[in-house]
């Protein structure tokens, strides 16, 4: 954990109250975001996102599998987060497991929608190859390389960038397969389908310190928080998921206020992220 003296605590809290944080940002300003795509060539898609000293890598691997019997017309997506001990010595051994699970669950809430798959940011029906028999399973693995607060937003951004970098091979299904047998397929090496990521939401975490709330908190600021609300918002301004963390209770009216602020902030973040992803893709195409 971050060890802070009383003076440092007062400095951080006072700064937030005066809308001037210790790194010179305002309450609702993000740190500069940098995106790099295609960092893991073995994966179908990957991206590395840095926000200040927070550094995360996300990779997408697609595997053919059988859709679940309850939802024969939908593919599968699963998200796993791993906290590397390089980020902090306390993640050594099993130390990072709790935080990893916490982040995985929060990301699943925010990006994958409900149990039925309704409201998911990722269009699950586009992953189907043969209804009821074969579908793509997307495994999204994230790795926290360096941690300086606001991991959830960074992970959300990395997943979005990795998905827009993902190419899923075109599959040709051999005609004539019938009945219960698995259809024969031919996976193309050259043709890839690009993934539609326009509906993938961004996650905005508002951290409440004192009477105010801030976005993109550093780990020092997070150590002073009373509670945090993570809201995922898509391009249309719909709220796709929400989680509250932290010990203290929140007044319901404040929650509603936070949601409207998050909606406003998410527009800027979404635009920023889109241009960064486009720039990263352009760099990758050049090289």
């Amino acid at each position: 954990m971050v060890g802070l003296s009383l003076g440092e605590k007062n400095f951080i809290q006072g700064g937030i109250a005066q809308d001037l944080r210790s790194d010179g940002r305002k309450r609702l300003t993000y740190r500069p975001v940098s995106v790099e795509t295609g960092v893991i060539p073995q994966a179908n898609g990957s991206a590395r996102v840095r926000m200040g000293a927070t550094d995360v890598i996300s990779s997408v691997k697609a595997e053919l599998g059988k859709p679940s019997s309850l939802q024969p017309d939908k593919g599968k997506v699963s998200i796993y987060v791993d906290c590397s001990p390089t980020a902090a010595p306390m993640f050594e051994g099993r130390g990072g497991d709790e935080l990893s699970t916490d982040l995985s669950v929060a990301l699943q809430c925010c990006l994958l929608g409900g149990k039925s798959g309704a409201g998911a940011g990722i269009d699950l029906s586009s992953l189907i190859v043969v209804e009821g028999k074969m579908c793509w399973g997307l495994y999204i693995d994230c790795l926290v390389v360096s941690s300086d607060g606001n991991l959830l937003d960074a992970l959300g951004a990395a997943i979005k960038a990795a998905l827009s970098n993902t190419g899923i091979p075109r599959v040709l299904v051999a005609a004539g397969a019938s009945g219960d047998e698995q259809p024969e397929v031919d996976i193309s090496d050259e043709e890839f389908l690009q993934f539609d990521t326009s509906d993938v939401p961004v996650i905005v975490t508002l951290t409440k310190v004192g009477r105010h709330y801030i976005v993109d908190a550093t780990s020092e600021e997070e150590s002073q928080m009373s509670s945090a609300v993570s809201i995922s918002v898509n391009r249309k301004g719909h709220i796709c998921g929400l989680t509250k963390r932290g010990g203290a209770g929140l007044d319901p009216s404040i929650v509603l206020d936070m949601i409207s602020v998050a909606k406003h902030v998410s527009e800027q973040l979404m635009n920023k992220l889109d241009s960064e992803i486009a720039a990263a893709e352009a760099v990758e195409d050049d090289s």
Partner: protein, 241 residues
């Protein structure tokens, strides 16, 4: 299977005595005291060093030297087939131990009694030679953290396939089942700190293969030295000296 074709080229187009392309970057983990990224071809690892600092677990404290700890972990996406491995399996425990012993041999632990140095290595991509890449990354990270070292320990592997000694095996060559010699070397002191081999090899051939691996270590050491010098120049420049 033919690992060296009649023209003397390997599967990935290298000559038998040729290394994969190496690339290193210092300071890739902002929060750590020292960190580095090291690539050997498609193998990519990150190392982070925390310390010297207070010993977390008092019972492990050593009164006359520093405690060195190491943890090796592989990312889920690092291998070709995706798999979820539990932490602390036998392979990673063994590699952690190897890296720890190799690094301990070159850190001047007697200068930092009652303290602890943590080395964390994270494999982002595995394509053979992760052991060597981890040691090279750890050396750079230790140097970046400013920890007193006797020498820069570097590592490289060599093997013997199709009656040809091969430098720096990749994953396919590594899985061929031939001998694989991993050497850790202190180039200035001219000493071997790590030596591992599996499979069998005649004594005269072993000498050749080990010599080849040592040459590889020297080449890596030269590159690492360049990177460190470049980094120091950058620091000097930023200070305005």
């Amino acid at each position: 299977m033919e690992y060296v074709n009649p023209e003397g080229l390997r599967l990935d187009g290298r000559r038998p005595m040729e290394m994969r392309q190496i690339r290193a970057e210092i300071g890739s983990v902002a929060k750590a005291d020292g960190s580095a990224l090291f690539e050997m071809g498609n193998t990519k690892v990150i190392a982070a060093v925390y310390g010297p600092r207070e010993v977390q677990n008092r019972s492990q404290q050593i009164s006359d030297k520093a405690l060195v700890r190491c943890e090796y972990s592989m990312a889920n996406f690092s291998t070709g087939d995706r798999m979820r491995k539990p932490k602390g399996d036998r392979r990673s425990t063994e590699i952690s131990l190897v890296i720890r012993q190799t690094m301990e041999a070159c850190i001047m632990t007697h200068l930092m009694p009652r303290s602890q140095i943590d080395i964390f290595v994270q494999v982002l991509q595995a394509d053979g030679g992760t052991r060597s890449a981890c040691i090279n990354a750890a050396t750079l990270a230790l140097a970046d953290a400013g920890i007193p070292l006797r020498d820069l320990v570097t590592s490289c592997s060599a093997g013997y396939l199709n009656s040809t000694p091969l430098l720096d095996l990749n994953y396919v060559e590594d899985s061929a089942g031939g001998p694989d010699v991993t050497v850790g070397f202190l180039p200035k002191l001219d000493k071997v700190t790590l030596l591992q081999m599996d499979s069998k090899l005649s004594i005269d051939l072993f000498e050749n293969v080990m010599q080849l691996a040592i040459e590889g270590c020297k080449a890596v050491a030269n590159y690492i030295r360049e990177i460190l010098l470049e980094n120091t120049k950058q620091l000097e420049y930023r200070r305005g000296l």
